[in-house]
Structure formats: C-alpha cells, structure tokens
C-alpha cells in the first residue's frame, strides 16, 4: 500500500510540474541510438579490418613508408695503361625551400655568405619562387662551399627542411679535349650523349637499387626497412688507347692545323697486329668538361664520321691488287710515256712524263698513268673484291654513333674511267680509320684486322686480303716514298725504317673539282722490319700556302710515330745513324 501511495504522490508531483508521465519512449529512443552506434561500430570495424584492410594499409604505408633509390656509380673509362679518362665524382647542389624560409635578412644572410652570393640575389630568387617548396640556389658547387653550407644547415636543425644539399654526380674528363671526340660526354643526369659514353651507356651506367624506408611527418627518412633490389654499379671500360700517344698526336695535329690554317684535321693510329686503336684525334676539338656547342662541327669525331677521297694514298693497293691478280710482277716495268693516257674520251695525266718506270718509282713519283694502266688490266670484279676486302665501303665494327661507311660503288656500275680513277683514289670515299686499317693490312702481312677500341679484344675479325709476299713487296716499295727523293721525306723517323704514301686531293664541290682547295693525306706504317703501327693523317683545306701531303700531313706522321716508337719501346731497325755501344760502353 505504501508503494502505491508513493506512486500516486509521484504522479501528482509530475502533473503539478507539467511533465510527461512516462519515460518509456525516451528510454527506447536512447537505447535505439546506442544500439545503432554499437552496430555501426562493429560493422565499420569489420569493414576496416576485413574488407578495406589492403587499401588502408597502403594508405598508411604511403604516408610513412617510402621507396628510395640507391644510386649506382657510373663506371670509369681508362686507357690501356689504367690511366683514368672519365670519372664520376660527387658534387653538391644547394637548394632552399622558399615556403619555409623567411625572407628575413637575418636568416638569409648567413646562407648567402656561405654561397658567396649577394644577399639581394638570394632574396630576388626567393621572391621569384616564393610559392615553391624546392628551388636550386646553386648547382654543382665546389667542395668548400658545400662544406660551409652543410655546417650552416646543421646549426639550423630546429628549422628542418629550409635549405640543404643534394648529392649529384658529375662526369669529369681529366684529359680534356684530347679525348673529347672519342669519349663524348654525359648529360646533367649522367647519361651518355655522345661518343663511347653513348655507345656503352648500358655497360657504364649500372642499375640503381631501391629500398623501403620509414619517413616521419616531415618526409625525413627515419630508418631503412628492406631492400627491394640491390644497386649494381656500372662496369669500368678499359680502352685500347694510349693516353700518352693520344696526347702527343692531338698536340701535333693541333699545331699543324694552326700552322697551315686548315679547316679541320684527323689522325688515327692503329696497332697493326691486334687492330687496337691507339690514338684517334681530330681538330677542331672541344673540351667535354666545358661548353659543348657544335659550332663548326667541333663535336664530330671526324676520323670516323667524315669521308674523303684518298687520292694517291690509294695507289699502293692497286699495285698490291696487280701483284695478287698476277697482271704485274714485282720487277715489272710500266711505260708511262708520254705522261698521259687516254681511256675512251677521258684522259689521265701525270705531272710530268716519267717514261718507263718500275713499281717502286711508280709509287715514289705517284704516277697516275702507271696506276691506271695496272688497274685497267685487272678484272673489275676482282679489283672490287680486293678493295672492299681492305675494308673500304663498309662501316667498321666499332659501332660509333654517326660513323660513315664511305663510298665504294659496285663494280657493275663502273664505267671504264671509274676503274682508272679508283686507282689514284678518286671516285671512292673513305674515313681516316678505314685508310689506317687498309695500311695496317700491308703491315700485318696481308691480313685484315677489324679495328677495336678495346685491349685484347677477342671479337676482332681477321681475314686474309693478300699474300704475305705481296704485302712485304709493297711495303718495301713504300719505303722509298719516305726517302730523300720520295714525296714525303718529312715522314722519316730517325732510327726506323718507315713506309707510307702521300695524297694531295682536290676537293670536290658543286662546281666539280676545285683547283685551289685541297686535302693533304698521309698514310703509313712502321717500322718496316716488324711493323707495329699504322697511321693515317688527313688535313682538310690547308690554306697557308703549302698543301702537298708530304709537306702538311707527313710531319704529323713522323712526330707521332717517333713518340710511339719511344713509348712502346719498339726496337730500332735502321741503326746506321746511331752509335752502337761497343764492348765497353761507358
């Protein structure tokens, strides 16, 4: 009873206060809200844990786990003796974050000072890129500057990410312009752009590795987690070049080009027994460490990209072909009188009437009539096979960018006169390398070796072009060219028997062959007893008066060969002028 009285009292009280009599609906409502909340919690928990887990994990990782590249070094390039020709060294670039860096002079001044910049300059840069978060202030600073900036950035720790250093690699070429054409260069990202850097980019470059790292909210790397792929450093290249010989050849060529005011010049030195390229130089040159504009074609490796008519330098091969095909003998005599020779309506001329001459005199006097008469007796197909066997008309196996194959028309398209002009080196075009290679055949006992840029390269192709006897005979004849009454006494090297042939070629232009523009050519080998080197020198348009191959190109040959003999310790084979140590040499 008590209870009911109490309930009644409550009811009355509520009525007096004008409040609802029952909480039932309110309770249900609150319970319902809690229920929905609980269910949605469970559902979303299940959804996140089970259905969305991949996505969420990824998003989380994206915020904290990053992939960082581990850079790979670009391989070195060395010469045959291990001297370094190209090396990548770390350099630093300085950046700022204009959004985090105040324009305050107090903050900017120390950085400007460390960089050796004017404060205004830095401020100007800052305001120009004020919306950006990353701007290079100075790229590739010197190590001292980098050190100063690093120190400054350490003392600036409390404001992380305002400025700093970025490591980059820069390719240096210690030998400068001497190896410019051969090596080429890399771009700002250290990728090969020209020359061997381009050809062997894949080998040199290596492969950057990747790894996972943990980052904090400011994208700083906190720790390394795992390696995704290892970095593979680039391989070093060991070339066949001799940096000393290359340097001397370059200097010699540069000097001669300046002295004769020539447009351009090239020279190639080969090891005749292995096909290795020991030196390859061109003028004009460029410094791969500096500006790389191609003004006047100075980036071109002319020894490989430019072709020319070899002129009289071709004659030794016609004599060799004649000997091989049996149309002449070593002691044959050829009647070149009266100094000209009609082939159909065309005429081949000598400078003067040489009369009846032997083969050695033919080469020494460089008789066009003599060479034509030999060539006309050879079957055109055989002659073509012989000449292309020497490597003319097809690109070498070097695979150098922009390399020319030269031109040697098929014999089926030859007119009669073409066979004659071929004999004195017109109507076909060759590169300096091809010419050196062909002379190397004479020096290597008649065996052709494909040229290579690598030391001890076993992929060198060898093929016999002529018999050892023929090669030796022609080589002996060529020795007289370098003699006192030959066309190139300036090609002589003291203490050594040298052999070679000059060429003075009229340049061909739209109006036909010019009478005042020449190419001076000299190609030769040495020492004759046991040949080591073959070399070709081409000087384009010498315009200081002299233009004969023997006057312009031959001195380069002699200079470089003399250095080569010394550098490679070649035993002298002509000791007449030298003092021999008698018994008790002092």
């Amino acid at each position: 009873m008590k209870k009911s009285t109490r309930e009644k009292q409550q009811k009355r009280y509520l009525q007096e206060q004008n409040l609802p009599l029952d909480y039932r609906y309110r309770r249900w409502f609150v319970m319902g809200v809690f229920g929905v909340a609980a269910v949605s919690l469970v559902v979303s928990a299940v959804a996140r844990q089970v259905f969305e887990t991949d996505f969420l994990q990824k998003e989380g990782d994206r915020r904290h786990v990053g992939v960082v590249e581990m850079p790979a070094y670009r391989g070195l390039i060395k010469d045959r003796r291990g001297e370094i020709l190209a090396v990548s060294t770390p350099v630093y670039s300085v950046w700022i974050n204009p959004r985090a860096m105040p324009v305050d002079a107090r903050e900017l001044a120390p950085l400007a000072k460390a960089l050796g910049m004017k404060l205004e300059e830095l401020r100007e840069l800052h305001s120009r890129y004020s919306k950006r978060a990353f701007v290079y202030v100075k790229r590739r600073v010197d190590p001292d500057t980098a050190y100063a900036v690093e120190k400054l950035s350490k003392s600036d720790r409390k404001h992380f990410n305002r400025f700093g250093l970025q490591e980059e690699y820069r390719r240096y070429y210690p030998s400068g312009e001497v190896f410019g054409h051969v090596l080429g260069f890399t771009n700002i990202d250290d990728q090969g752009q020209e020359g061997l850097e381009l050809v062997f980019d894949g080998v040199l470059q290596g492969e950057a590795g990747r790894k996972y790292v943990v980052r904090d909210g400011k994208r700083r790397v906190v720790s390394d987690i795992e390696q995704i792929s290892p970095s593979r450093p680039g391989k070093d290249l060991e070339l066949s070049f001799d940096a000393r010989l290359q340097t001397l050849a370059y200097r010699s060529l540069k000097k001669i080009r300046a002295r004769h005011k020539a447009k351009s010049a090239s020279a190639v030195v080969l090891d005749v027994k292995t096909g290795e390229v020991l030196a390859m130089v061109n003028q004009p040159g460029f410094n791969p460490n500096g500006s790389r504009n191609n003004r006047g074609g100075r980036l071109r490796n002319r020894a490989l990209t430019d072709t020319f008519e070899p002129g009289s330098a071709m004659k030794p091969f016609i004599v060799a072909a004649g000997l091989e095909e049996g149309v002449i003998k070593v002691n044959s005599k050829i009647d070149t009188a009266p100094g000209y020779y009609y082939i159909g309506r065309d005429i081949v001329r000598d400078k003067k009437n040489n009369g009846v001459i032997d083969l050695e005199t033919l080469l020494r006097k460089s008789s066009n009539v003599g060479a034509s008469k030999i060539a006309m007796q050879i079957d055109s197909e055989d002659l073509f096979e012989f000449v292309s066997g020497l490597g003319f008309g097809s690109a070498s196996t070097l695979g150098f960018p922009g390399e020319a194959s030269g031109q040697l028309n098929d014999y089926q398209r030859w007119a009669k006169i073409d066979q004659a002009t071929l004999s004195f080196g017109y109507g076909l075009s060759v590169t300096a390398l091809q010419l050196a290679q062909a002379y190397a055949v004479l020096a290597n006992g008649g065996e052709y070796k494909s040229a290579t840029f690598f030391k001890n390269d076993d992929s060198v192709i060898t093929r016999r072009v002529m018999s050892e006897k023929t090669a030796a005979a022609v080589l002996n004849m060529l020795e007289s060219v370098v003699g006192e009454d030959g066309t190139a006494p300036q090609a002589a090297v003291e203490g050594f028997r040298m052999a070679g042939k000059t060429g003075t070629v009229k340049k061909y232009s739209a109006e036909g062959y010019a009478d005042d523009r020449y190419r001076s050519v000299f190609a030769g080998v040495g020492p004759v007893d046991d040949p080591k080197f073959a070399m070709a020198v081409v000087v384009d348009e010498p315009s200081a008066g002299k233009f004969y191959g023997g006057d312009v190109a031959a001195p380069v040959f002699a200079e470089v060969m003399a250095s080569g003999m010394r550098l490679f310790n070649v035993v002298p084979d002509a000791l007449d002028g030298m003092r021999l140590a008698s018994g008790g040499a002092r």
Partner: protein
C-alpha cells in the same frame, strides 16, 4: 590441438623476430653501404686529383722547365744489344 596452437604461436613469434633481425641487419648494412659510398667518393676525388696532377703537359713542363730535361738527340743515344 593445443600443441598445434602452441606451434602456431611460436612460429608467429619467430617470424616477428626474424623480421626484426633482418631489419636490424639491413640498417647495419645501409650504414656500411653509406660508409663504402663515402670511401668510394673520396677515392674518385683522389683519382681525379691524381689525373689532374699527372696531366701530360704538366709533367712535360716540370721535366723541361724545372728539371731542364730534354729528349735525347740521335747522337746522344747508344743502343746496347742484350744477349
């Protein structure tokens, strides 16, 4: 059943431990790698310095200038044959 559960638990712990270990080792390796890279960088700089100091024209200058050397003339050379 109980044994299997225990084994699962054990292998779970082992996985976690090995993962931890591998991360530690990787961190260690990274440290060493950084060190190696620093050394390699130094080496490259030294190589560059060497190549610059040993430039041919510089050596020639030293030889002909400071040391007053010259290429031997033909009559200054004696050839000695070894046996």
């Amino acid at each position: 059943m109980l044994v299997l559960a225990a084994l699962i638990l054990l292998s779970g712990v082992a996985v976690a431990y090995v993962k931890y270990e591998s991360r530690m080792l990787f961190t260690e390796m990274e440290k060493l790698r950084t060190y190696r890279d620093e050394l390699a960088n130094d080496w490259m700089l030294l190589q560059l310095e060497l190549a610059t100091l040993a430039r041919h024209d510089r050596i020639e200058q030293g030889a002909t200038g400071t040391l007053k050397m010259h290429m031997p003339d033909q009559n200054e050379i004696q050839v000695i044959y070894g046996k």
